[in-house]
Amino acid sequence: MSSPGISLEGIVRKNGSFTLQADGTFQPGIHLLTGRVGSGKTTLGEILAGIEKPDQGVIRWEGTRRVMLLQDTSYHVSTITVQEEAASWCHDTRMIIARAGLIGKENADIFALSRGELRRLELAAILTGGYDLIILDEPYAGLDGEAREWVSQLIEDHSSQVVILISHDITHLPSIDILWELDNGVLTKVGSMPEGLTRWKRAPPLIRYLLNHGICPAGLSRQDLEEAVCRIQE
């Protein structure tokens, strides 16, 4: 069963001189939340996940279970071994370990894993858990190219849920449905693909480069971007 989505009405959250303002509805699908460093992406993710409370405004959420992958994955860890950590998520422990590619390492000390392995384990647990709102804050950070592709494939299997991806790295994304932008604390729904790309206010250099050459990618997946780049090189 897919969830009806989560909507934000008049959300305001202040931190010193910084103010976050957000309105909008996140329907089931894969959303990309972009914005410069310090624009409030993590704070908004925490409010959507229910980890933080806004100062003002209403969050309407009719689903049942929500989860957020934190930037610093080691903050998720609550046990000692891989087996215990996978079991702590109260789902199919074996499937979590298999998806994370950690079969044979069940008894390994969780802090003896590499950065990439630990991130794969927590991601596999989150994406196996049947959550209907999934917020992933920089899921690609610290992962090599192969692991990034693994993450994107796993995410694509969950497009019937609400998946909100926060990422600066746009080179290994799955197929994105809706693009959102935070600029100086204000949330804007930029739109769906590919039309949204031309309205992206602070588009990253690669997108600006493509548009400057008169080429609009079909979307933001790795394949879409590679095809667009090839059209320039021809």
Partner: protein, 233 residues
């Protein structure tokens, strides 16, 4: 010149490597030995066998600046000014000089307005600038950034790159998974299973055709050159 000779340590196995002054990027899959390589160069531990010399000196006898993936984990003090001043205070400089040096450092980084702020509650990007400032204020022989770019956007990385280039630090080594950031390096070292794969200048990687553009730092150099200039922080 940084000279590495017959080094074996953990997974690392490097017969010979020389790094000229400038910016050098280290890349390679998870678990290929990047952080071990950087720790050896920082003198955090000596190699099992072999030698490493930075301009003829042992790494442990050099001044090293280190910034990691989560800079706030290494921050010691609650106020930004105190964090930037920490190296100078630990080396017993006098207070008037410390204040002057900290103010210049903050101005160069564009964080003068943060000096009296508490570190807690600052944004991720601001924390990175503070961690870089605290490392650079020591005027290190070698500045190391270990996957510091993991949570940074492209413009922010370019901004940081400009600051580091202007700092005049002789050797800068950074590890990264992202070809768009490796494009900023004068030289790129690729590690795989602890061994060095190639050893090229990022200028001559060229376009490789097909599906390789997005992995090619040479392609990203073109993107950066054509889109920089209008970026503001």
């Amino acid at each position: 010149m940084i000279k590495i000779h017959a080094v074996r340590s953990g997974i690392l196995n490097i017969s010979s490597c020389a790094i000229k002054p400038g910016v050098c990027g280290i890349t390679g899959p998870n678990g290929s030995g990047k952080t071990t390589f950087l720790k050896l160069l920082a003198g955090i531990f000596p190699p099992g066998t072999g030698t490493i010399h930075i301009d003829g000196k042992n790494p442990a006898d050099c001044v090293i600046g280190w910034v990691g993936e989560y800079p706030d984990r290494n921050i010691l003090f609650t106020r930004v000014f105190d964090e930037l001043a920490s190296h100078l205070r630990f080396s017993k400089k006098n207070c008037t000089d410390i204040e002057k040096i900290v103010c210049v450092c903050a101005r160069n980084l564009g964080i003068s307005h943060l000096l009296d702020r508490a570190v807690h509650g600052l944004s991720g990007g601001e924390l990175v600038l503070i961690a870089c400032g605290a490392a650079m204020i020591a005027q290190p022989d070698l500045l190391i950034l270990d996957e510091t770019d993991s949570h940074l956007d492209d413009e922010f990385c370019s901004h940081l790159d400009n600051i580091i280039q202007k700092s005049g630090i002789r050797y800068v080594l950074f590890s990264s998974h992202r070809p768009e950031h490796l494009a900023h390096a004068d030289k790129i070292i690729t590690l795989e299973n602890g061994e060095m794969q190639d050893h090229t200048s990022s200028q001559n990687t060229g376009n490789q055709g097909g599906h390789c553009h997005l992995n090619d730092p040479g392609f990203w150099k073109t993107v950066i050159a054509e889109t920089s200039g209008r970026d503001t922080l």
